[in-house]
């Protein structure tokens, strides 16, 4: 099942306009430090982190400020040198009040991160390696924000054959992974060396879409000099190629069974930025304290790729980019296909924030909706080969219990169906609402 055909892709999916031309060649800039930072304790999937600092405590840049709150949880580090102002609830991107550590930067500090000596990662046992990664605060930077170390736990009978590095960045507008690959290919390859060695992978494949030719070239050059076997797979441009199961299908022509993980077919998938951050941790002891994101969209004055300290308020990032045009009606955190709409600009950038996009009313979909004409375009779009039309119909009719017959649980909310629907039906949104209603109902049943 080696990758044979490089210009391959998965089946179905869609191809929205890419809109990457505005930022794809802009080098990563660092945003200046600001006065105050908001660090939610739950920036990842799983249990929230537990604070190890109190108000008024002084903190150094990169210092641990919250420890993992369980195994599926991760550490949190201070993005700045300064002091803790409070442990309090603040709103996150979803609009929920969540516990946060509030920091104030020290205006006089140099804000230099002091690297520590490289860790001899070859000597670490798997358990130590996993623990180390957890303490680095690493989470998936491809958007899911799943604590990375959990993926690295060896599992009985499921050896890792391939490490798959996800450089697809299939969402329109986003170019942050692209820039990371171009500018930090050495970090990516170093991370691959560490991870592939520790996981015992035979080979590593970096999946990159063909619209990032420069990244492919740079990575191929870097891969040639890598101490472990690395291949770069150029993939046809299509959304949602970056979804890990689609990526595996595109590269290896292997379907990860529904309800299973890539590990079940002998693979571990990580985003390029995650891999680079992993290298920084083992080489320099630099935890995850900032990330690269793309600010773009028609309502942004100066689109850019930025390296942003975690916890920076969105407003500050946008101000750095020259602010928003006055017709702005929608600001999205993440990509335009799966991101969350923001109701306030005071929410912070978190580990999973890959982009900040601003749109005017004219740019985002607000067309008339019609009833479904069963055109089948949503079926052709769905990478999971579901029947979105039927799911939406059942959801609309409130027949949530029948949705399982049509595998509602396999939906990844990629939004391809909604994008494709000529009748403007919010299909994935309907499925999402119905699925959470279903989950709620099940929880209630369990409780009773």
């Amino acid at each position: 099942m080696a990758p044979e055909n490089w210009i391959s892709t998965f089946r179905h999916g869609v191809h929205p306009d890419e809109h990457k031309e505005g930022t794809e060649s802009l080098p990563i800039e660092r945003v200046p430090f600001v006065e105050s930072y908001i660090l939610p304790l739950g920036q990842h999937i799983g249990a929230p982190s537990v604070p190890v600092v109190k108000p008024k405590d002084r903190v150094q840049r990169g210092q641990l400020i919250a420890k993992p709150g369980g195994f599926v949880s991760t550490a949190l580090h201070s993005p700045v040198t300064g002091h803790v102002t409070a442990l309090a609830n603040r709103r996150n991107a979803m609009g929920d009040l969540v516990p946060c550590i509030l920091l104030e930067a020290d205006p006089y500090a140099t804000q230099r991160f002091e690297p520590r000596a490289p860790v001899d990662w070859r000597a670490l046992s798997s358990k130590e390696f996993v623990d180390q990664t957890q303490m680095a605060g690493l989470v998936g930077m491809g958007g899911a924000a799943f604590p990375s170390h959990v993926k690295y736990v060896p599992q009985e009978g499921k050896p890792v054959r391939f490490l798959v590095v996800n450089g697809c960045e299939c969402e329109p507008y986003l170019t942050c992974d692209h820039r990371v690959m171009v500018e930090r290919s050495d970090r990516v390859v170093r991370g691959i060396e560490i991870l592939a060695t520790k996981l015992g992978a035979e080979k590593t494949v970096i999946g990159v879409e063909q619209n990032k030719e420069d990244a492919i070239e740079v990575l191929q050059a870097a891969a040639a000099g890598a101490p472990v076997p690395v291949e770069v797979a150029a993939l046809k441009v299509k959304y949602p190629q970056g979804s890990e199961k689609m990526l595996i299908d595109a590269v290896f022509k292997t379907e990860v069974p529904a309800g299973k993980l890539p590990l079940d077919v002998g693979m571990v998938v990580n985003n390029v930025a995650t891999i680079a951050a992993l290298a920084d941790w083992f080489d320099h002891g630099r935890p995850l304290i900032d990330r690269v994101l793309t600010v773009s969209g028609p309502a942004v004055s100066r689109p850019a790729n930025l390296q942003v300290p975690l916890g920076t308020p969105v407003r500050a990032v946008l101000e750095y980019c020259g602010g928003l045009k006055s017709e702005t009606r929608q600001v999205v955190m993440g990509g335009p296909m799966m991101g969350s709409p923001l109701s306030s600009l005071d929410v912070p950038v978190v580990k999973g924030t890959s982009g900040l996009l601003a749109f005017t009313d004219a740019d985002v979909f607000d067309g008339d909706t019609y009833t479904c004409v069963k055109c089948g375009r949503c079926l052709d779009a769905c990478p999971n080969f579901l029947n979105p039309c039927m799911l939406a119909k059942l959801a609309r009719a409130g027949r949530i219990e029948s949705m399982d017959e049509f595998y509602a649980s396999d939906c990844t909310f990629c939004g391809s169906c909604s994008w494709a629907c000529p009748s403007g039906i919010p299909i994935s949104q309907l499925i999402k609402v119905a699925r959470s209603a279903m989950a709620q109902r099940k929880r209630k049943e369990v409780r009773q």
């Binding site: 009833t371 119909k393 059942l394 609309r396 009719a397 027949r399």
Partner: protein, 192 residues
């Protein structure tokens, strides 16, 4: 087209029991809400029709030549009893089959498709084999209509049918359109 085949095609499609002769409308409208149920009901119907055809033939040949005036009463009583008896046998021998079909048997025995089958078979003077083919065609036709109807109704349930027509009126309209579509089979294998 030879006669047996014509009897079969005619009762299955051209003169479909339900859509052209209006026989068995009760199950057709009453039990066509769910596809699986409709299909099982259809199978049970075929089964009862075959028994009915046998009974009717036996009665016609051996009893009613002497007392034609007892036709109706004897049909209804004998068919009902035989079905009941067969039901008991199935229950003993094939419990699984019984669970799938059993609940429908009493319901079917009192519908007019069954009696209609016996009466038509008699009035057309069908013999044993012709009668059996007629029963298979008629039962098959009923099943076909039921299953099509059930599929359509399950889908229509998800539509925005206006409240003033939802229910029986809509089912009648669907049946009418189906019946119209079946007119396309007119004359199938009949001549030329």
């Amino acid at each position: 087209m030879n006669n047996l085949a014509w009897i079969f095609i005619s009762s299955l499609l051209v003169n479909n029991f339900t859509l052209a002769y209006f026989l068995g409308l009760c199950p057709f409208f009453g039990v066509s809400g769910r596809l699986v149920t409709a299909f099982r009901l259809g199978l049970a119907n075929i089964f009862v029709m075959v028994i009915t055809s046998l009974c009717a033939w036996a009665l016609n040949t051996f009893v009613l030549v002497h007392a034609p005036y007892l036709r109706l009463i004897s049909f209804i009583v004998v068919i009902a009893s035989t079905v009941q008896f067969v039901e008991m046998v199935i229950k003993k021998l094939y419990p699984a089959l019984f669970r799938a079909l059993g609940i429908f048997l009493p319901l079917i025995t009192t519908n007019c498709a069954i009696l209609g089958l016996a009466l038509f078979q008699t009035s057309r003077g069908y013999g044993l084999v012709e009668g059996l083919v007629f029963a298979l065609g008629g039962g098959g036709g009923l099943t076909l209509a039921l299953v099509l109807m059930a599929g359509l109704r399950e889908d229509a349930e998800l539509s925005d049918i206006p409240s003033m027509i939802r229910g029986t009126a809509m089912n009648l309209m669907i049946a009418g359109i189906l019946s119209m579509a079946f007119m396309g089979f007119a004359g199938l294998f009949s001549s030329s």
